[in-house]
């Protein structure tokens, strides 16, 4: 299978995010992905770009964001390149599971979900001063990916 590559460039604003997400979903429509892989691609995009939009601005300037989707055979790779505030997510811990609802924190779940949906996550700060996060989407066996039932607390 010939690898396919889709590039999306947009300002790191809520409007840019919404338009880019539409473009990504249209691109994913053209790929023969199972439901789980499709969901994982959208989840990774949602969480990474939301973080760039929410925390990446340098002063009043929204980051320039460049996302690349590469799909070839069993491999799907998403690369997020932005000129926002330096952000290396690799060393950040996942939230500690809360013992009660009152103690529960409401942040940190985005990166946790990205790690779960990815088979690898690599980061470099480029010589041009840009964040470059490369996420390889995990592939799961089965026609629709895994089936997980809710567990009672």
């Amino acid at each position: 299978m010939q690898p396919r590559r889709v590039e999306i460039r947009f300002p790191g604003t809520h409007e840019g995010f919404a338009q880019a997400f539409d473009e990504l979903r249209q691109a994913l429509d053209r790929e023969a992905l199972d439901a789980a892989a499709r969901y994982d691609c959208e989840l990774i995009f949602e969480e990474i770009v939301d973080n760039i939009v929410s925390h990446g601005a340098v002063g009043d300037r929204a980051p320039d964001v460049h996302v690349t989707l590469e799909h070839g055979g069993d491999s799907i790779v998403l690369t997020f390149d932005d000129d926002g505030v330096l952000f290396d997510p690799r060393g950040l811990p996942d939230p500690v599971p809360a013992k009660s609802l009152q103690e529960a924190k409401i942040g940190g779940f985005g990166l946790m979900l990205v790690r779960h949906a990815a088979s690898s996550l690599d980061y470099v700060r480029t010589s041009e001063g840009r964040n470059r996060l490369t996420v390889k989407v995990r592939r799961r066996p089965g026609p629709g990916g895994t089936s997980v039932s809710p567990q009672p607390p």
Binding site: H14, A104, I106, G110, M112, H116, G144, T146, P150, P153
Partner: protein, 113 residues
């Protein structure tokens, strides 16, 4: 993102959510959902069967509403999630702090307490 309210009997509110709980979806539904549930301290069961996507914004929203309801003597129970949405609930361990059940009957039983 759309929301439909119904009566699940015995004072329990059934909330059907339809659409995607991504960032725009949460932005559109969080305020009206909170306004319908929290001031009255509702005991509510939330039908996720027509939620096609759930991200961390939706997890944050459910924790915030469930916590506010708990302070008012109410209760939030989720049910009916599709497998990929259920996987997000499980990955974030939301099921440790917010009850999640397979169907409306089981969810209503928890909401009744």
């Amino acid at each position: 993102m759309q929301m439909q309210l119904g009566d699940a009997g015995e004072g329990i509110l059934n909330v059907l959510l339809v659409g995607r709980l991504d960032t725009p979806g949460v932005d559109s539904i969080e305020t009206p959902l909170t306004a319908h549930l929290v001031p009255r301290g509702a005991r509510a069961i939330v039908d996720l069967s027509q939620v096609a996507f759930l991200g961390s914004g939706g997890i944050r929203m459910f924790i915030t509403i469930a916590r506010a309801l708990g302070r008012k003597g109410g209760k939030l129970v989720l049910y009916g999630a599709q497998p990929l949405v259920a996987e997000v609930l499980q990955t974030t361990s939301l099921n440790d702090i917010v009850p999640i059940r397979a169907d409306a009957t089981a969810a209503a039983a928890v909401a009744r307490g």
